[in-house]
Symmetry: C2
Subunit: 336 residues, 2 copies
Amino acid sequence: MSIAEVARLAGVSTATVSRALSGRGHVSAAARERVVAAARELGYVVSQAASSLASGRTRNVGIVLPYLGRWYFSSVLEGAQMQLMHAGYDVTLYNLAGNDAERRIVFEDFLLRQRVDAVIAVALELTEAEVANLHAIGKPIVGVGGPIEGVRTLMIDDVAVARLATEHLIGLDHRRIGLIGGDRASDADFHMPAKRLRGWHAALHDAGIEADPRLMAQADFTLQGGYAAAKQLFGAPRHERPTAVFAASDEMAFGAILAARDLGLSVPDDVSIVGIDDHDMAEFFGLTTVAQFPRQQGARAVDVLMAQLQPDDATAEDTPLPFELRVRRSTARPRP
Amino acid sequence: MSIAEVARLAGVSTATVSRALSGRGHVSAAARERVVAAARELGYVVSQAASSLASGRTRNVGIVLPYLGRWYFSSVLEGAQMQLMHAGYDVTLYNLAGNDAERRIVFEDFLLRQRVDAVIAVALELTEAEVANLHAIGKPIVGVGGPIEGVRTLMIDDVAVARLATEHLIGLDHRRIGLIGGDRASDADFHMPAKRLRGWHAALHDAGIEADPRLMAQADFTLQGGYAAAKQLFGAPRHERPTAVFAASDEMAFGAILAARDLGLSVPDDVSIVGIDDHDMAEFFGLTTVAQFPRQQGARAVDVLMAQLQPDDATAEDTPLPFELRVRRSTARPRP
DNA sequence: TTGAAAGCGCTAACAA
DNA sequence: TTGTTAGCGCTTTCAA
């Protein structure tokens, strides 16, 4: 089943079939109609391989991410994939699984095989060499969730987000505000935890509150990690205990809510808790949080990419992504 | 950077380069060495498009799944992707997002573009037409997590798994054993919920216990859904309340644990709870569960596929996948 | 074991 | 607007 048979059936040349089906170049309405009819009748579908070889375009985008199982990553992926699919693009998935060996294979081998037109890197800091390799073969890159040197990137302002969450607590008259931040491992790739810590710090500072190091705990962005960290914070003697905690992700905040409960502390009467993300389960837990919108972030990354793939690319600046405070049941004024 | 330049530098023909690099056909050790050296020196990587066009092989496998965000699916995907990567294969991801329109596009368009050598369908029931289309273009299919007519499939024995979970409760002397099963929507694609219900039923029957319809609740396989369903069950007057509940997935079981807690019921003193999956958070919740191993299921699906891609395929039977009871803190004898 | 050469199926310049 | 045709870069048959 090749383009030649369609051409024969439609009574035109293969070039016309190609033009009619791909939408590139001019074809009379009549010819287009016959071609489409013939293609449908024969059940013809272009061979991507042949098309790619001839045109240099693959209609395929690589998406690289460090994990699959976490809400943020799978949501970005979902958003990007939908959008790409509607643009007729395939998605090739490269999951690094937090693993250096895999990473090398992906960047030194898979991505260079000319199978993708572009790559989207999610919450990944690429090395100069990685970026250079990709640029060398003319593949545009778009980053989501963290800045990459010399690459168009979509990200929320993590400092501002953390500041907003913390200021919400300050606005409720909390003074002893704890932090559940990222641990060293989770910071390695992106410094996002460091930024969220900075936002917390800045908000306190502006309110004239001194950051108490005993109120800072670290975790790995999982619910379990958040639980353990929160137990440490909440387990302190009463006058040292925070009346509120800012967790750098919703999953950790969920853990903190459960920890409070297990200690017999009421949320929000004894402790207020705020997170970042607006995870699917935030509503269920009644968690006050700063929403980011990962599905939209993924879709938006695709839009940016499509623009870059156009010859007349009027690449705009890096835009900060929207975020939004969602107040639910987990925060309130401290009990006097 | 094409094969011709490598050939020139190595002082051999392009045919020899191709053979040396792909491992197909015989090449003298000396020639291979020179080719490999030349390729490395030039930074040569094959063009997949050209290779595919010439050989008909794409070194690319499509993975189709109904959702991305749930633990089971993303775990299977992760397992399959790792395994494929190590075999030098790319993964093209088709996420249906529980959406019929997407599904049609995927099956009538994307998968037929000859971009994949095979497809793995996760927890999906394919229609006869969908299978036929794929077979017509010679693409092998492997199913994971549910039977597909005429297709090699890897799945756990859902009836047996549910029976095991329920028999664990019976063995602890529970008699009033509730069920949190799937709702109609979640059953549509795979009848997995129906099978797990059957297992529960069969275990009760064999123990001479009559299944009480008031002890059956339905949910959508989410934590929230499990919570709501469990509240219904646990909210019943004391003598009608189940002393134990079997939830058809761990996420629903987590919800049930939280529901019990919110009602002031102790797990396992007042109610025992058992799930299916061995979710990453099962340990954290102390949940007794029947483990299945989705990462391994994904990897295994790849092995089966690779075998089918060999000409000398000695396709074995459908093998039932392993599962295993993991007893933790959420189950105990009922309080007298 | 190696090389020559004929495609694989499509796209895009160019000519008409 | 349409057709002719020369590749795109590789694999594989066939012959040596």
